[in-house]
Subunit: 188 residues, 2 copies
């Protein structure tokens, strides 16, 4: 997919704005893994920061916390089976989720973990704060680089005029898709 | 709108799962306010917890932090102008945003701030942790009660068979709408 670096990086928060499910990529250069995260949000525009929630007992959790880096890969509806596959298997059992679910590694520009080539956007993140919630944690991270589709993300904004279908998780195997755009009217 | 209390409350996180923009209601019984928040996510299922980001200089911020309570009101696309209106005016200038933007106060069951009657779902929240981000903060809160439309949220899940249109923020006046549902296939 044709992608360009998102500049200024202060518009990178818009990549997560509509609340899509993302595929988190982690790794140290020898071993990597992928898992979907529905619980994510931008938390700051400039410097751009995001937050994701991760269970502490997940295979990937120590890979994130030890290296302090992860990728957030935003996906279209066509990849729904890959998202569900990555979410219903553990990195303990599946050595290579990229190969297993038909995804391609893309070398990141700054961080060590690979990105997902098929993603419509990817954010490279460095953990800056961990908020303990008991069995899980909120990982607050700075976005150090972002890539987005030149077709679907233009002038720092998602564009729905070329068939963009962002994927949102409902429950279990159920997802919904944002396909249409509306414009609100500001009060006069 | 016909609503029922969401039970068990451990399914309340699904109300926020697709990443919709929410209208936050705050107040102490004498003065209240409404503002939209795109940066929100569930963070825990049981006990149900959510996180929202709020600027510290916002009119509503002290109202939230002093009282420790707020409502999260999930809206449909038909309320896009009200969302934009609440977001482009300050509680310092508009005494009654409910009246100004055609919304109706609904008495909450547990918290002091009012809920929005026109919302398709409302979560009553109590702040339990504030994560400082400088000029803004992540407010982590426990959901103590939730209400949802009996037509659109059934058996603990959003249902798109009756014209549900959830609203997601893109940038400025631009929003997108989730209208369709797809089912992923788990790996065999």
């Amino acid at each position: 997919m044709n992608k360009a670096e998102v500049k200024p990086l202060s518009s990178a928060y818009r990549l997560l704005n509509p609340g899509s499910v993302v595929l988190v990529s982690v790794g140290d250069g020898t071993r990597d893994n992928l898992f979907p995260v529905t619980w994510n949000t931008p938390v700051r525009q400039d410097p751009p920061m995001v937050a994701i929630v991760s269970g502490k007992r997940h295979f990937s959790y120590p890979l994130i916390v030890e290296r302090g880096e992860f990728g957030l890969n935003v996906l279209q509806a066509s990849l729904v089976d890959a998202v569900l596959g990555c979410g219903s298997t553990s990195g303990r059992d599946v050595e290579d989720k990229f190969a297993r679910f038909g995804l391609t590694r893309e070398k990141a520009g700054i961080i060590r973990p690979p990105l997902v080539e098929e993603a419509v956007a990817s954010l490279e993140c460095r953990v800056c704060q961990v908020v303990d919630l008991g069995s899980s944690a909120i990982l607050v991270a700075q976005v150090v680089r972002a890539l987005a589709s030149t077709e679907h993300f233009r002038e720092g904004q998602w564009r729905f005029d070329s068939g963009l279908e962002l994927l949102h998780h409902l429950s279990g195997s159920r997802f919904c898709v944002t396909v249409s755009e509306i414009t609100g009217r500001k009060p006069g």
